[in-house]
Symmetry: C2
Subunit: 457 residues, 2 copies
């Protein structure tokens, strides 16, 4: 008898759970229909890319992007839109940069290059020296000052094409760009050429931040295109006599004032519990920053719009955050965290989209075990919309720090195959974003925010 | 004791199964590394698209594509390469086609249009008439001859954006293009404009085959761009007085000689058991046919190359088949089946790639229950490479018919979000194909062919 009652109670609980799931699947279907039919993310992205364009921290365009997204957030239905002032590094590329390889037979080959972000300029005379190709830091250490001193180091770390997830290859080869220049400077190199961190063979240089070690000389550092890197490597293998020339005119100006932009829908039941969803508003100066990270920006705004339209009154406070300065400083993320602490805010959850607006495949979570178990129970709800691959390890450069104040953090995981074709290059333009892929990402993000808002974590 | 022996035997069998799986996963890793590192599919596709271009059945370019792929198959390592002669329909678009909307206020708006494949031309005078917008065949039947007679019917069947799989939307709206013209002719319409079957809002008309009912008058039929369709629909809703003009110069010439191209690696153990992998070589005349279906062609050649390079001597006979005339007749598929029957060939399995060279998500199978169970056992092997979504229902227009002679058939299922942005339009060009996505598709296809060859079905 007892068993029977128990069975009935579990059956009832099970039915209630099923009803809740059913209710959720209907709401998520409504969110999906809203975003796929009336979504504004694609049009907003067109504005960011085509009416504004590159938005490097400290630039006039970055300020225009602040104003434009404040407007978009209001249009999306935010109760409140406000700016968070923060000072940002102000690196400028300066006038035309150039470089070439001078062959012993007199032929000169111009290089497709660009200065790395935050790098120093070469001065008007440029840098002229022999070139040493380096395929690993072990090799660099082995050659040491005897070979490196006075030379231009050419870091040729191709992205491994056999990794299925391109971010893995980026992570592995990326050190050539971030720490390579200072590692070369340690042995007396006078400049660095880095093979672009790109997954395709083409003629576009891909920039990105380099991080100097303060105790070492800061030497000019440029990226060269993958085609140029292949060509240069072949020449060096044939023991060709050659020298390299680089001239860059970049400089680091004093920090400039800028802003994060925040749009908020205040919660009705637990307004003190905050769910943040964001991307970064700044982009490199060579690119429209369409996939990196205009996509994440307009998706975050779309999440707010979809929640407002379909859910109307969320229980918790939903914030869409346009972080400034992810590319070369992370000051926006620092400021957001600092203010959260100062205001004693309670951050329940943060979701970041900064891996491109491609077809979503899942989410990566950095949350408690208990929360991950809860979230895993929602997985089937995402299956029809493609983002059901839930893995551990998530967050991102801007949202990740919220973990330190107790928030569960998470990153959208889109298909990664095309991202590094355009990442940080002039090919990262609006035309290379698919409306459907972008909106599919936004609707999956909105579905996740809906579930966290409804159920807590 | 008996139980113990039984346990040991199962443990042994289990271990053997695991070892086999492990062996398979190593071979598939080798296939993946080979394709991702040395794959030729992308370069072959560049040749097909840029050195040849559009390849409509019966055209000089189609013949060039026959010759080029015969060469590519040899280079890929086929033992034998041969042609299968077949007669194909020879539809030609003719000289410049045009059309416009004439408004009552004298303003004339030119339309972005193109004749539908296999449609008749309008004659030199063109067709000039009032326009009736139709949103469903139910609506068409309701209006009937009283309203339709003497008019241009404008079928406005948008692809439903809320379907996550775009092929579902294509299937639903596609009847406007295939059977719409004859359905309108039944009520006395004198021409048809079809809203392009496209998933995006732009100015490109998307062609595709129309299929006339022989007993009804054949009337000129064109596709107009989605932007034009939206504009025209708005004008008609505002009860604007307008007429439409269409002039097309297409014609159906007598059937022309053409070929399927077949490359083969003969099996060492069971040479009489054939595994076919293919795509279609013809494309529409407006497009480079990069995604549709240059991708499937070069992936099939790459499967042969990967099997030859990694497996070397397959047990069964592996054929890569370049089918002619999928777009407007299916005569290549007919011929392949006819010869298979005439030669009493034993077809074990057929795999088709004709859904674009996008990131692969899985395969659709039309095989026996027993075979599906066996195949499902391989699923985990595909997980690392993205194509682990195994569903029932597969094949395709060219490979599907092999089912009638006992073969299991299967279609590659890539991500479908971008396909109908470019499908059958002048935007289906090489530049819209990603090397990594294309090669990922090829390596998953090669892995499946490897497993079927090794294990049978």
């Amino acid at each position: 008898m007892e068993k029977k009652i128990f069975t009935s109670v579990s059956a009832l609980l099970f039915s209630l759970a099923m009803l809740a799931q059913n209710d959720d699947s209907l709401t998520i279907r409504k969110i999906a229909n809203e975003v796929l039919t009336n979504g504004k993310a694609y049009d907003n992205l067109r504005f960011l890319c085509k009416k504004i364009g590159p938005r490097l921290s400290g630039s006039a365009n970055a300020q225009k992007a602040v104003e434009a997204t404040a407007r978009m957030l209001k249009e999306a239905g935010a109760d409140t839109v406000y700016l968070q002032p923060c000072m940002v590094p102000h690196w400028v590329r300066g006038a035309k940069e150039k470089g070439y390889i001078q062959m012993a037979d007199g032929i000169r080959k111009n290089l497709n290059l660009c200065a790395l972000g935050n790098s120093v300029g070469s001065g008007k005379k440029g840098v002229n020296a022999g070139i040493v190709e380096i395929r690993s830091f072990v090799e660099l250490d082995k050659l040491g000052a005897a070979i490196i001193k006075g030379k231009i180091v050419f870091f040729n770390f191709p992205m491994n094409p056999t990794y299925i997830e391109t971010f893995t290859a980026y992570g592995e080869s990326g050190s050539s760009r971030t720490t390579g220049p200072s590692k070369a400077a340690k042995y007396g190199a006078i400049a660095v050429m880095v093979r672009s961190l790109a997954s395709n063979a083409d003629d576009y240089p891909h920039t990105g931040v380099t991080i100097y070690t303060d105790s070492l000389p800061k030497i000019p550092a440029v990226a060269i295109s993958t085609n140029d890197a292949e060509w240069l490597s072949r020449q060096l293998k044939m023991k060709m006599q050659l020298t390299g020339f680089i001239q860059t005119n970049c400089a680091i100006l004093p920090d400039a004032p800028s802003f994060n932009v925040v749009g908020e829908i205040r919660g009705t039941q637990f307004p003190e519990e905050i769910i943040s969803v964001g991307g970064h508003l700044d982009s490199w100066d060579l690119a429209e920053g369409a996939q990196d990270d205009g996509a994440g920006i307009v998706q975050s705004i779309e999440v707010l719009r979809a929640i407002k339209t379909v859910v109307s009154k969320p229980q918790r406070t939903i914030r869409a955050v346009m972080f400034m300065n992810e590319e070369n400083g992370g000051r926006g993320a620092e400021k957001y965290l600092e203010l959260a602490k100062a205001n004693k805010e309670k951050h329940l959850f943060g979701l970041e989209s900064d891996a491109g607006g491609f077809t979503p495949r899942g989410f990566g979570f950095d949350v408690s075990e208990k929360a991950f178990e809860k979230i895993t129970g929602w997985k089937n709800l995402f299956y029809p919309y493609g983002a059901s691959n839930f893995t551990k390890g998530g967050g991102g450069a801007d949202i990740g720090p919220l973990k330190t104040i107790g928030a569960g953090v998470c990153g959208l995981r889109p298909d990664s195959q095309r991202y590094f074709d355009v990442h940080h290059a002039s090919t990262d333009v609006f035309e290379n974003v698919s409306r459907r892929e972008l909106h599919l990402g936004a609707l999956n993000m909105a579905a996740l925010v809906y579930l966290v808002d409804k159920n807590g974590l």
